[in-house]
């Protein structure tokens, strides 16, 4: 059965269609792996065994009838921020403990139509606020490459489970790097699509102008295959872009001759670990050898991105999270009157980081401070977008490190929020500009920890990124699953 671990979605699909393995067998194989390894890694908040077996049986029936489905019988994990009908969805928060959504997120609906098998709901930073998954109200997820280290965040459960093969693939969400940073720290492929490419309906909102759903996978092929299922217009999301998504697997294997790669000089700064710099530049050289040309570009407003982001995202969060008041769903703690009930419920239900961001967001929007913070941030956001627009006049993709460092130790940054925020310095500008970006493994540091290379694309041009990532993956042939989990 272990050969199954090395197979991508296409190869598994072939095997399933030929009936060499059943979806039930494949699902049991993954459930057994979760039982064996998740006591160490803590990636799943909830394993939906019963549901998984039911879905696998139904997939097998469909397969035996010769029915098609892009993910028919494939076991997948979902970040616990995506609503699943009848299955508890917590956002890793005490305030949503016991919440059973009466509907599926659009992406979940799409996965179901293609016949996927739901293995369970994956751990994350509470309400997707964090860069280490240490802000989960329930447990701390570990990095499979070194269990003393964090997997990154906020989609740390998705990245760790995918890297250790506790699912074939997973979905995460990315507001300031929450797919790409953990994907990079865990040696997996992560994609944050163009804002509006994937419907946000049923994604529990953190910062609505920045949030996007995307896949975390072990291979570039699987990333493209997952994108094929989740992309496209959805009338239930008013910011969904009304264009048809292409077949992302079509560009796999195409050459990159003549492609212009932009390297922003502002991103190779002090504070970036030498191993990270070296590994990313080696990746760039490799792409050059395949026929791409390299141009130095400038994104002069990059240094303002983190400050801008923490104004925009906390402002939006303070508004989005006002809905947790103990009235309609989730936790309620009784008080002497309704205001007291709101206060007690929210104080008991939210964790430290969520409260910190609500306070910050309320402050920057409060009377007398709005112009100095929120309005200013909106303007700087325009300048950051402008930087990218100019850069893309002279290049086709931009390549940077995903993070300045590799995975840090559990507890290392948790008491220092500003330092934690700065670990997303290379991923944040992309969300502010609404662009697509990918994290693809490009090597390991001296401690054997994975290093991620970020590819940023033009709006709606995920294909060029996927093509580039595939060239890199094919040339590097890196180890995907850590020894201990084989």
């Amino acid at each position: 059965m272990d050969r199954l671990l090395q197979m991508n979605i296409e190869e598994l699909g072939d095997l399933l269609r030929k009936r060499e393995v059943s979806s039930l067998e494949l699902t049991h194989f993954y459930l057994d792996r979760i039982k064996k390894y998740d006591n160490t890694l803590h990636t799943y908040i909830k394993v939906t065994e019963e549901e998984a077996l039911k879905m696998a049986k139904s997939a097998d029936e469909r397969l035996s009838k010769g029915e098609e489905g892009k993910l028919l019988g494939i076991p997948i994990g979902l970040k616990d921020i995506l609503c699943t009908v009848g299955i508890e969805t917590t956002c890793a928060s005490k305030i949503l403990k016991g919440f059973i959504p009466p509907y599926d997120a659009t992406v979940v609906n799409l996965l179901k139509k293609e016949g996927f098998v739901l293995l369970g709901k994956l751990n994350m930073d509470e309400f997707a606020m964090g860069s280490s998954t240490e802000n989960s109200a329930f447990m701390v997820t570990k990095n499979p490459w070194d269990i003393e280290r964090i997997p990154g965040g906020s989609s740390g459960g998705s990245a760790s489970a995918t890297a250790a093969a506790l699912c074939v693939a997973s979905l995460g969400t990315d507001t300031g790097g929450s797919i790409r940073q953990p994907a990079g720290f865990c040696g997996t492929v992560g994609m944050k699509p163009t804002y509006g490419r994937v419907s946000r309906y049923g994604l529990i909102a953190f910062a609505s102008s920045l949030d996007q759903i995307g896949p975390i996978t072990r291979t570039v092929y699987d990333c493209a295959a997952m994108m094929n299922v989740i992309s496209g217009y959805d009338p239930f999301d008013s910011t969904s872009i009304p264009v048809k998504a292409p077949d992302y697997t079509e560009v796999l294997g195409r050459d990159i001759k003549g492609m212009r790669i932009g390297i922003p000089k502002e991103y190779f700064i002090e504070g970036i670990e030498p191993d990270v710099r070296e590994s990313v530049m080696k990746g760039v050289t490799l792409l050059e050898r395949q026929g791409a040309s390299v141009i130095e570009i400038s994104l002069p407003h990059s240094e303002y991105a983190v400050a801008t982001y923490y104004i925009v995202c906390t402002a939006e969060a303070s508004s989005n999270l006002a809905r947790y008041d103990g009235v309609k769903y989730g936790l309620r703690i009784d008080g002497k009157d309704i205001i007291d009930m709101y206060k007690k419920t929210r104080s008991m239900g939210f964790g430290k980081e969520v409260k910190r961001r609500i306070i910050l967001g309320t402050y920057v929007l409060s009377s007398g401070y709005y112009d100095a913070y929120y309005r200013k941030a909106g303007q700087v956001r325009t300048l950051i977008r402008g930087d990218f627009e100019k850069a893309f006049n002279i290049c086709d993709v931009i390549v940077t490190p995903v993070s300045p460092t590799t995975a840090f130790k559990v507890g290392e940054k948790i008491d220092d929020p500003l330092t934690m925020y700065l670990s997303d310095i290379f991923t944040i500008p992309v969300n502010l500009a609404g662009l697509p970006a990918m994290s693809v493994p490009c090597g390991f540091d001296r401690n054997g920890l994975p290093i991620g290379l970020q590819i940023i694309g033009k709006a709606l041009d995920e294909e060029t990124m996927i093509k580039t990532a595939y060239v890199l993956e094919s040339e590097l042939k890196l180890k995907k699953i850590p020894e201990e989990f084989l």
């Binding site: 008080g335 910050l360 409060s366 700087v380 956001r381 500009a433």
Partner: protein, 98 residues
């Protein structure tokens, strides 16, 4: 210091959060540091720059005004912490003198 204890307490009230003295202490320090870091935006001249509120310039979409299925009352109330018939029940909001 960028923010005082009193301001954190007031913002806590606006955010409907009950903060313990330890939390007030911690957030005064941490939020203060973060706001200090945000000061760097002030060094940037943004006069005349239009503000971006959404990354993608998409027009607001308006759907046809047709009837389509929505959640039933039971579905909508299925997670209610407290209910009374077809309603969410909450503590009294308007006090009535008896």
């Amino acid at each position: 210091m960028k923010i005082t204890r009193e301001e954190i307490e007031y913002i806590g009230h606006l955010s409907r959060l009950e903060l313990s003295p330890e939390e007030v202490e911690m957030y005064t320090l941490q939020v203060g540091r973060i706001l200090e870091y945000m000061e760097k935006l002030k060094t940037l001249n943004t006069e005349g720059v239009v503000s971006t509120s959404h990354a993608m310039p998409i027009k607001a979409t308006i759907r046809d005004d047709g009837v389509s299925p929505s959640f039933t009352i039971e579905e909508s109330l299925s997670n209610a912490p407290d209910r009374f018939g077809a309603f969410f029940r909450v503590p009294p909001i308007i006090e009535v003198d008896e």
